[in-house]
Point group: C2
């Protein structure tokens, strides 16, 4: 039996792809983290909706295979894209124990795209994507990557810039970046993309260091060509585009 791992895109329902919506319409059982299931519960109140808490990702994966073994068609939902800080790789790893089942990943719009769209076009040239969470990556590795991203003059997207236990993650990351980048580097962030309370702000890297962000915030740092234009954050496509300005 095939199990679908679906990226739901940003919070709002019409941010899903047509393919994702069709598979959710057709499946028997939808499994996910509680918050995402609540977003779907109005539309799918007649389906079996099952959740496990935030840190129980392995249990959530096993539940998918167990339900599929009962003959149910199963969709595991993730916010954004399942392949970007989502459940895709863990499903394949745990899937080794359930060789009778296939996995298909249905891609979705990640916060790097939906957040960028709200801010303007901060990622319109080469960029890096870095999670500031130390839950799955050691902090020293994150610091090394932040330095490499700054030295490569990449635009940077930062996921998970804060949590209850990591109040200073963004401040610390900005300090690492400021060893290489100008304090005037153009930056921005978006909170609650596609949901109630969506807020957006553009600011310099120096200002970003003391910004109040939470776990639902996605942070963008420009490259050396990024500009503010009419309240938007824009990274030009490249040097030809710049010549026309």
């Amino acid at each position: 039996m095939k199990i679908f791992v679906i990226g739901m895109g940003p919070g709002k329902e019409d941010g899903m792809t047509i393919e994702a919506a069709r598979i959710l319409d057709e499946c028997d059982t939808i499994i996910g983290y509680t918050v995402y299931l609540e977003l779907l519960s109005g539309r799918y109140k007649d389906k079996e909706l099952l959740s496990t808490p935030m840190t129980k990702e392995e249990e959530r994966c096993r539940l998918c295979f167990e339900k599929a073994s009962e003959g149910k068609s199963v969709a595991l939902v993730c916010s954004g894209d399942a392949g970007i800080y989502g459940m895709a790789s863990l499903m394949y790893e745990i899937g080794k124990e359930y060789p009778d089942h296939d996995i298909e990943i249905i891609p979705g719009v990640s916060a790097l795209s939906s957040g960028a769209a709200i801010l303007g076009a901060p990622l319109n040239n080469d960029f890096c994507v870095i999670s500031l969470s130390n839950y799955l990556t050691p902090y020293e590795k994150t610091v090394k990557r932040l330095k490499a991203a700054a030295e490569g003059d990449f635009a940077i997207v930062m996921y998970n810039p804060s949590s209850h236990k990591r109040k200073d993650s963004l401040k610390n990351a900005c300090e690492v970046l400021l060893e290489v980048l100008s304090p005037d580097t153009c930056c921005g962030y978006v909170k609650n993309i596609g949901r109630e309370g969506c807020t957006v702000k553009v600011l310099t890297l120096a200002e970003l260091k003391s910004a109040e962000v939470d776990m639902f915030t996605t942070v963008f740092v420009g490259n050396s060509s990024t500009i503010f234009l009419g309240g938007k954050l824009l990274t030009p496509r490249g040097y030809n585009a710049e010549r026309t300005r």
Copy 2:
């Protein structure tokens, strides 16, 4: 008048978001590069469909503002996501000359997500996105970024790995990466994502160096933890996930 800049996702129609499809249904005029318009022409044969050739991006942007000035509701379509090597930033830059019009970016599923979904989960930890085209970024800058990405132990996605004029781009990029990375680094590529002739391959970095790719190929290079598993390319989410293997 608001102009929508829409990421269509991968080639197939159901890879679009529900929001993108609704806006295309409602608009008067759809503007885009010829190839993408052909993908839409069946569905939208009663609308005004306008295209400019590949290298005439500025003309295409101006056409949007001119049609909007005539009172038409206009959507500019890009493949993948308009904010990732798409037209989003150029629209804002040219939009300075047309202050009566607003721009709204509608995000889509980029090839980094749709390609990753076909390969497995190669981007399930921090990653970099680099275009190998030297049309808009000088080659020296691309080399610097490739080195920084390798030194930061990022997974890497490469867009535009080849063109008629740049037959050796991927080979040259692999040589830069091999100065830092092991020749056994797990890699993969996808051609014609979501379209007829979609092909997928996993291979080592040493093998990637001599792979035959074209301008419709997206290339993925793993980080030091990336593995092959059952024909898929997987980057584990992090060290906790690794401990469970």
